[in-house]
């Protein structure tokens, strides 16, 4: 099922949580909503689920306008951050709940419900725990039961709110791989919310980066990482350095010197230059490059990070050097970004 979010705006007591957000989710896709807290990612997920109603705009499931439908009619599978399992029901009853509350002919027989529940327990690798209560399960097991419960109603879309947020690191990595496998096996259109970029980039087909109630960028992990389209994405995803520069005559200038980067398409004037610390080319002499004094240096795994002080303004930027690079304290290093992007100065 494809899902389209069209010009959705959401306000909570006049406070806007989402500004005019549009997003196309392809059928069968595994998509991540990534952003810091307060970016509106959970609100967007809850709007798709029908747990909230948009102040403006519409949400389509296929060709149907889902915003007219109640949450019960939407048929979405929602996995809550803290699982929200029914404490007084066994695992099997939790999973069967969505089928049991159906009316008339839509409700499968008791034996059919039991069969479906144990099938789903197989899928989430928890067979044999039918009779347990949620209190008797570990965090990871609860997470799996919550997913099985959401899938039991054969949802059009599967929505997960911070699915691994409450688990410890080890279980998290395991469940991440496992969720990908389940998704590939079942083919549900799946949207999950996370504030962990590693999780989003590793797991999702496409990542939606959000900030302050807006979508900043939508794209594959490679696109997001290699071609960030805003200063926010640059600094939120991975590491980045930035320098205030000037554009003049199709060239980029740092203070009074050109740094050897062409900017033929950029408008003249003040700008910010963004690049990745590891994506730089080290130079010997410096005519048309960035040069600075090493102010601090630290060892990070297989590389060395140095902080350079640049120019009279003493702007600080970080770049990565090979461990065996001779740059010590106070020595000068010259470099030029290999991949970079200019943004207008705010």
């Amino acid at each position: 099922m494809e899902v389209r979010v069209v010009n959705v705006r959401k306000e909570f007591e006049r406070f806007p949580a989402l500004h005019d957000v549009s997003l196309d989710i392809r059928s069968g896709e595994l998509i991540a909503l990534l952003g810091p807290s307060g970016s509106g990612k959970t609100t967007l997920l809850r709007l798709i689920a029908g747990l909230e109603r948009p102040t403006k705009g519409a949400i389509f499931f296929g060709d149907e306008d889902a915003s007219q439908k109640s949450i019960q009619e939407r048929n979405v599978g929602f996995v809550f951050q803290h699982y929200a399992l029914f404490r007084h029901m066994t695992v099997a009853d939790n999973i069967g709940f969505g089928l049991k509350v159906r009316h008339g002919a839509a409700r499968p027989s008791a034996s059919e419900i039991r069969r479906r529940a144990s099938e789903l327990l197989d899928l989430v690798q928890l067979s044999g725990l039918e009779k347990r209560y949620p209190a008797q399960l570990s965090g990871g097991q609860r997470q799996r039961v919550a997913l099985a419960r959401a899938m039991a109603i054969e949802p059009k879309v599967l929505l997960l709110d911070e699915p691994f947020g409450a688990l410890d690191a080890q279980v998290r990595r395991e469940l991440r791989r496992w969720l990908r496998e389940i998704h590939d096996a079942t083919g549900h259109t799946t949207v999950f919310v996370t504030h962990d970029q590693e999780e989003a980039l590793e797991l999702a087909d496409r990542v939606v980066v959000m900030s302050q109630g807006r979508i900043e960028q939508v794209g594959s992990a490679d696109e997001i990482y290699d071609m960030p389209n805003s200063p926010f994405v640059y600094s939120f995803i991975g590491e980045s350095s930035s320098l205030p520069v000037k554009v003049d005559n199709g060239e980029i200038w740092l203070a009074d010197r050109p740094i050897g980067l062409p900017a033929s398409n950029a408008a003249s004037g003040e700008a910010l230059l963004y690049f990745r610390p590891h994506d730089v080319e080290l130079l010997d002499g410096c005519s048309g490059c960035i040069a600075g004094t090493v102010a601090a240096s630290r060892r990070v795994a297989g590389t060395r990070r140095v902080e350079l002080e640049i120019g009279g303004e003493r702007q600080r930027v970080e770049i990565e050097l090979p461990v065996d690079h001779p740059a010590a304290q106070k020595s000068r290093v010259a470099f030029r970004p290999r991949r970079w992007k200019l943004f207008p100065a705010s």
């Binding site: 949450i71 929602f78 929200a84 969505g98």
Partner: protein
């Protein structure tokens, strides 16, 4: 004192740097023993001294049985009424926002704070045939004051806060996500309330019920004014104890008190066991 090895075994208390254990525990135990334990064991001793035949004769006396039946029966009905309305009041206070909510919330504790004798005479005045409520009910042929129904009314008044105050905090802790989860799975509002919320509240409701019930069984002050106190009809067990005392019939008073105590403790024990069981299971 030398440091004992860790495997020294039984130890009355864990070591601590904080002083005053002996003084405070000693004083507390002495006070507890003098005020509560000795007087209560006096009751047990007196009823044991009665001998089985006498005890049985008093217990099986028709007036005793009737009084016990009225006390326990009225308390049971009143507690059931309070379960319904107390849960509703708690729901309204927890879930809905309306002006004056704090005042209504504070009012719920009135029966805790209002002396029972005051409640008794005021309810009687209210439900007497010429009272504000009584005169509305009289044309319908409903008599409240001076009938067993009056006992129930008084016990509803007394028991209400027990149910509200037990259910309210649990309701406040209910996780909204659980309701949302049920809604996304297709459950209607009615199904969510009956299948998801209510079972979650059941332990608290049962506790509230038993507290209101226990209090109702022993209640005296508010009931004796409105009950009419007709032997065999509207005479409660605590009143019968007082009557026997006034007749200097100590054995009878003691026996009735012992029966009441035993029944109350039995019920509290059952409720405690049920709660422990439910905590183990549902966490």
């Amino acid at each position: 004192m030398t440091t004992a090895p860790a495997q020294a075994g039984w130890r009355f208390r864990q070591p601590s740097v904080i002083p005053g254990f002996g003084l405070t525990l000693g004083f507390s135990l002495a006070y507890l023993t003098l005020i509560i334990l000795i007087p209560l064991s006096g009751l047990v001793w007196r009823s044991a001294a009665l001998g089985w035949t006498d005890f049985w004769a008093i217990a099986m006396d028709r007036r005793t049985l009737n009084a016990l039946e009225i006390s326990f029966g009225a308390a049971l009905i009143a507690a059931a009424v309070n379960v319904v309305f107390g849960t509703l009041v708690a729901w309204v206070l927890v879930r809905y926002r309306f002006p004056g909510r704090r005042i209504v919330d504070a009012m719920v504790d009135l029966p805790f704070a209002l002396p029972t004798a005051v409640a008794g005479i005021s309810l009687t005045t209210l439900y007497a045939p010429n009272g504000w409520i009584g005169h509305l009910l009289a044309p319908l042929g409903v008599k409240v004051a001076y009938t067993p129904l009056g006992i129930v009314v008084a016990l509803v008044f007394i028991g209400l806060p027990f149910v509200v105050r037990t259910v309210q905090p649990i309701m406040e802790e209910l996780d909204k996500e659980v309701e949302e989860a049920a809604a996304t799975l297709g459950a209607s509002r009615f199904q969510i309330i009956t299948r998801v919320l209510f079972p979650g509240l059941a332990p608290a409701i049962i506790t509230g019920f038993s507290l209101a019930f226990a209090r109702g069984v022993g209640e005296y002050g508010s009931v004796i004014f409105i009950a009419g106190n007709l032997p065999f009809k509207s005479e409660i067990a605590p009143l019968l104890i007082v009557i026997r005392l006034e007749e200097y019939n100590y054995p009878a008073a003691t026996a009735i008190a012992a029966i009441m105590l035993a029944l109350s403790f039995l019920m509290l024990l059952v409720v405690n066991l049920a709660q422990t069981w439910s905590r183990k299971r549902y966490g």
